[in-house]
């Protein structure tokens, strides 16, 4: 029963409403989105809300932007990461892209160093740069997924959408992920609309509609009571 699952509240009230109250604890969610759709913003917010509202520590594994860039990005919003980092409630780590084993170790060590209950890996799409062959990528990335589930840390890995299709994370979405969230930033004739949809969430009754999303100084706001009417 959905009601029996312990859930990690994202802290975004609208998003939690769409997924039965939160992400089932320990689950792995892939969040695929258009460029600029708010993936990084939402992930930072997920950790910020966890640390400030639910007393849950969080780790941000950044595979692209370095820590200073992310801290600078976070100042666009009403969040004080500096203090949370100083208090060891949040850790942001930038991992160099060359050694997948090192990535796995860094994830495990960092999560356990602050007993993190939330983990973000952003952007997951660069995983493929670690490997020479697709087969190798598949095997190792599925392995990462299994490791994360073993660690029982609620995890969001971001992914890119392009030309309406999510780039594959080599089976992670299909075979290991418990949930898939889609963020759209779509050009209509003369404007852009932002929206969010839940493709799947294990053990959860989800909304089957697309809902509008706003980004402001307060971060991402999911308008769960509203629908998206435009065809995107």
């Amino acid at each position: 029963m959905a009601a029996d699952l312990e859930r990690t509240k994202t802290g975004l009230v609208g998003l939690d409403k769409l997924i039965g109250g939160g992400i089932p604890k320990g689950n792995l969610v892939v969040m695929s989105g258009d460029p600029g759709s708010g993936k990084t913003c939402l992930c930072l917010q997920f950790l910020y809300e966890g640390a400030t509202k639910f007393n849950e520590n969080g780790v941000f594994i950044s595979l692209e932007e370095d820590v200073e860039e992310l801290e600078k990005f976070s100042t666009l919003f009403d969040w004080d990461f500096k203090e949370l980092i100083a208090k060891k409630k949040i850790k942001i780590v930038n991992v160099e892209l060359y050694d997948f084993d090192k990535l796995l170790t860094t994830i495990e060590d960092t999560v356990s160093s602050i007993n993190a209950e939330r983990l973000v890996i952003d952007p997951g799409v660069v995983f493929r740069l670690y490997f020479k062959t697709e087969l190798e990528a598949r095997k190792r990335i599925l392995g990462l997924g299994k490791m994360l589930k073993r660690m029982n840390v609620t995890t969001v890995i971001t992914n890119e959408l392009s030309m309406e299709r999510a780039k594959s994370l080599y089976g992670l979405e299909e075979y290991v992920a418990d949930g898939v969230i889609l963020l759209y930033h779509t050009k209509l004739e003369n404007r852009f609309v932002r929206s969010i949809g839940i493709l799947k969430m294990r053990g959860t009754k989800i909304s089957e509609k697309l809902h509008p999303l706003e980004i402001s100084k307060e971060g991402v706001k999911v308008l769960s009571e509203q629908e998206l009417f435009e065809e995107i």
Binding site: L188, E189, R191, V193, Q226, E227, E231
Partner: protein, 200 residues
Amino acid sequence: MGDEKGMRGGMSKRLKALIRKEFTNLKDDFVALLIVDAEKFAETNIELVRILKHENKLPGVYITGNVPYKNLKDHFDSHKVDLKDLTFIDMVTQMSGEEAQKEENCVFVDSPDSLTELSVTLDRAMDKIKGREKFLILDSVSTLLIYNKDRAVEKFTHFLANNLRETPGTKGILLAVQTNENKNALEMLAQFCDKVVKLV
């Protein structure tokens, strides 16, 4: 009133009587589709707002997709319609490229094809109204049908009608001018409404 002269005066009286018959007794909530002739449109909205505001003393929201707020305000002013407690949502001005002046009682939406933005704006405007009893006039679904796919207007209207029904004390009137092109679409939208009134 000013325009009661000759033939038009006759039509006008009949029209008023009809609108009165349908919309004066507002004890019950409803979502109505009001289909009007293009020539009678300007009188209809005056009469509606008079009944809802002056006689029933209701606050409300008026969505204009045909005429910019400025012109609509002049239209109402010239007929001595009191606009206090009436919030406008203007879907025309910004589309025409004209700079939308900041107005106390008007919110501007990009264009008549911004249905999601309209829905969000409307929700906020309705929420702001104090008190239980209120009304909404959507002027008009036929405009929405020009700028959007039928399917999108269908989803929007369905959502809107459900929302209005879930908010006790709200009366919703969806205005439409029927054309050969939108006849089928209007019939479909009528399914979401509690009553359909034809003033044609």
